[in-house]
């Protein structure tokens, strides 16, 4: 019959219409028609989508305990390896140009990530030897001005290790395990002087 295909197609859309209503699903169930997914929408502002743990958006710097005890030693490996060149690091130096040390480690005076260039590819996290930078999953960052809001300076990037454990438990566990193993290795052979190898 000439119109059969068209009618069958309209049957599919009518079934989908019925599926979205509870009474519709009841009718379909009584007629033994398999019910797939009804309403598929996540109403955004009211209920937010549950992103899986590995969801990555923009990087952030990790500090243990207080913000000035950050893991980053300004070794600039991530600045070199970042494919779109969105990281800009200036090492903290005193007047004579010698790197200043805090907690036995050098630290960056200025660490800027330009969020309007970063492509959230997580290569900086892979290449960082000190697990100092991790990927955040905060995505509500729209702004009306490009300069103040889009370029994250050091203070805006710093987040605590506890925050990292909260958003990515399994990843944080492996990172902490690795750090503990490294601390044990550095502590045991050279007595207990907790000296971190200063960056190249």
């Amino acid at each position: 019959m000439i119109g059969a295909g068209v009618l069958r197609g309209m049957g599919v859309t009518f079934k989908t219409l019925l599926e979205t209503y509870p009474w519709g699903r009841a009718i379909l169930r009584t007629l033994q028609i398999p019910v797939t997914d009804g309403i598929f929408t996540i109403p955004y502002p009211e209920t937010k989508q549950q992103h899986p743990e590995r969801f990555r958006y923009f990087p952030f710097l990790v500090y243990d305990g207080t913000p000035d005890n950050l893991r980053c030693v300004a070794c600039k490996i991530c600045e070199q390896e970042c494919p779109p060149q969105s990281i800009h690091i200036v090492m903290e130096k005193d007047e004579q140009g010698r790197p200043v040390k805090a907690h036995g480690r050098t630290l960056p005076k200025q660490f800027d990530v330009d969020m309007s260039i970063c492509m959230s590819c997580r290569i900086c996290v892979d290449v960082c030897p000190f697990d100092a930078i991790e990927m955040d999953n905060e995505y509500e960052l729209s702004a009306s001005d490009r300069y103040e809001h889009m370029i994250f300076d050091k203070h805006k990037l710093l987040k605590s290790a506890e925050y990292f454990q909260k958003i990515k438990p399994t990843e944080a566990a492996t990172v902490d395990q690795r750090l503990a193993a490294k601390k044990a290795k550095t502590a045991s052979p050279t007595g207990d002087k907790p000296s971190q190898p200063s960056g190249p």
């Binding site: 197609g9 049957g11 969801f55 390896e81 494919p83 590819c121 997580r122 290569i123």
Partner: protein, 382 residues
């Protein structure tokens, strides 16, 4: 009944030159066609590209081999995983790296899932060009969202996965991921049947698509057309079977071939290919071994990309991407950056025959012919 109207000799009409694009509701991105019309029939059609030329190859030559992986996600932004897979194969051929067993299985699973996503999206967009007010497209995107959740759980990002590395995959899949994939793969055939019920026997679709934009076998082979478009014209050439790269020879699957080579064949061959991909996925999900997801050498390269300096020489790795043959030509001069980085994009070459397909058809046909050729501008313009 199909009247191939040439220039009507009797009435002296003036030919109208119309710009379809670069901003047009159904040119799949910024693609422009300068069409010369005689009434409604196409007389001449010149494609114009370059509106999304983002210097992918120049950037590829200035960063390390690993650094260009996130850029391959943005080549054909529907199939991030299979683009990575192509580059990984080329680098493995160049640097002589051997991938781990579980990594190979995971790569094949991801590539076949990408094929499902791409083919459903293409059919959705084809129907959207035909005028269906978004319903098939939104059904296709509903299924795509389910598979994107799998990609997000494994790689961290919905579309830009950056997950495959030379030597395997960047991280092993989280636990519970394989069960979720099995559930989705088992549920997919029912969606395909429903999709076919909506489209394949639909008389309007058949009348609009049959005998429109016929691509002959000889022209397809001569114009280096690859992928579903070539197989719809009846040429049996699937790189997974021809090259047998990665671990595809272990899986039993068949290659569907069309007969006439028109828009309807290109549409239906893609549906049959999806069913074959489901077979591969079932076998791969059953046979996936344990062990590391990446070979130790691959792990080391991932950790320190600057230390990877392949020997001097050139390599051309190619895979069967959902759109056709995606090839990476890498020339290395021993430094951590590739000396020459060239991408052979399937959509770019498949467009060579667009004018031959469209001459003599109506404006409405040109839109669905372009839809059936399935181009993505990120890959066409690189």
């Amino acid at each position: 009944m199909e009247l191939k109207a040439g220039i009507s000799p009797t009435i002296e009409t003036q030919q109208l030159e119309v710009n379809l694009g670069p901003q047009h509701p159904s040119t799949h991105g910024v693609f422009r066609m300068i069409a010369t019309l005689d009434g409604e029939t196409i007389v001449k059609l010149k494609p114009v590209m370059g509106y999304l030329h983002r210097n992918h190859e120049q950037i590829g030559e200035r960063i390390t081999y690993i650094g260009s992986f996130p850029f391959t996600d943005r080549l054909d932004y529907f199939c991030a995983m299979s683009n990575n897979f192509g580059l990984a194969l080329a680098i493995e051929q160049l640097g002589g790296i051997q991938a781990s067993e579980r990594g190979e299985y995971l790569r094949v699973i991801m590539a076949e899932l990408t094929r499902l996503v791409n083919h459903t999206a293409v059919i959705g967009f084809l129907l959207n060009d035909m005028g269906a007010f978004g319903t098939p497209l939104l059904y296709a995107f509903r299924e795509r969202e389910k598979i994107l959740d799998l990609f997000e759980a494994a790689s961290g990002s919905r579309m830009m996965c950056n997950y495959v590395r030379p030597g395997g995959v960047r991280e092993d899949v989280p636990e519970g991921w394989l069960e979720r994939t099995r559930a989705i793969v088992n549920a997919f055939p029912r969606f395909l049947d429903e999709f076919e019920k909506l489209l394949t026997e639909n008389e309007i679709v058949q009348q609009r698509c049959k005998h429109v934009g016929v691509l002959s076998k000889e022209l397809a082979m001569n114009a280096s057309v690859t992928g579903p478009m070539l197989r719809a014209s009846g040429v049996n050439y699937d790189i997974r079977k021809v090259d047998g790269y990665s671990i595809y020879p272990r899986f039993t699957f068949r290659v569907p071939l069309g007969t006439v080579g028109d828009v309807y064949d290109r549409y239906y061959v893609r549906i049959l290919e999806m069913r074959e991909s489901l077979k591969i996925l079932e076998q791969a999900l059953k046979g996936i071994p344990g062990g590391p997801a990446i070979s130790p050498k691959g792990q080391a390269i991932g950790k320190a990309p600057r230390t990877f300096r392949p020997p001097k020489g050139a390599a051309y790795g190619r895979i069967e991407a959902p759109k056709g043959e995606l090839g990476f030509y890498l020339v290395s001069d021993g430094s951590p950056q590739p000396y020459r980085y060239h991408v052979r994009a399937p959509s770019f070459v498949n467009l060579t025959v667009l004018e031959d397909l469209c001459i003599g058809h109506k404006v409405a046909d040109v839109i669905i012919i372009l839809g059936s050729v399935d181009i993505v501008m990120g890959e066409v313009d690189r």
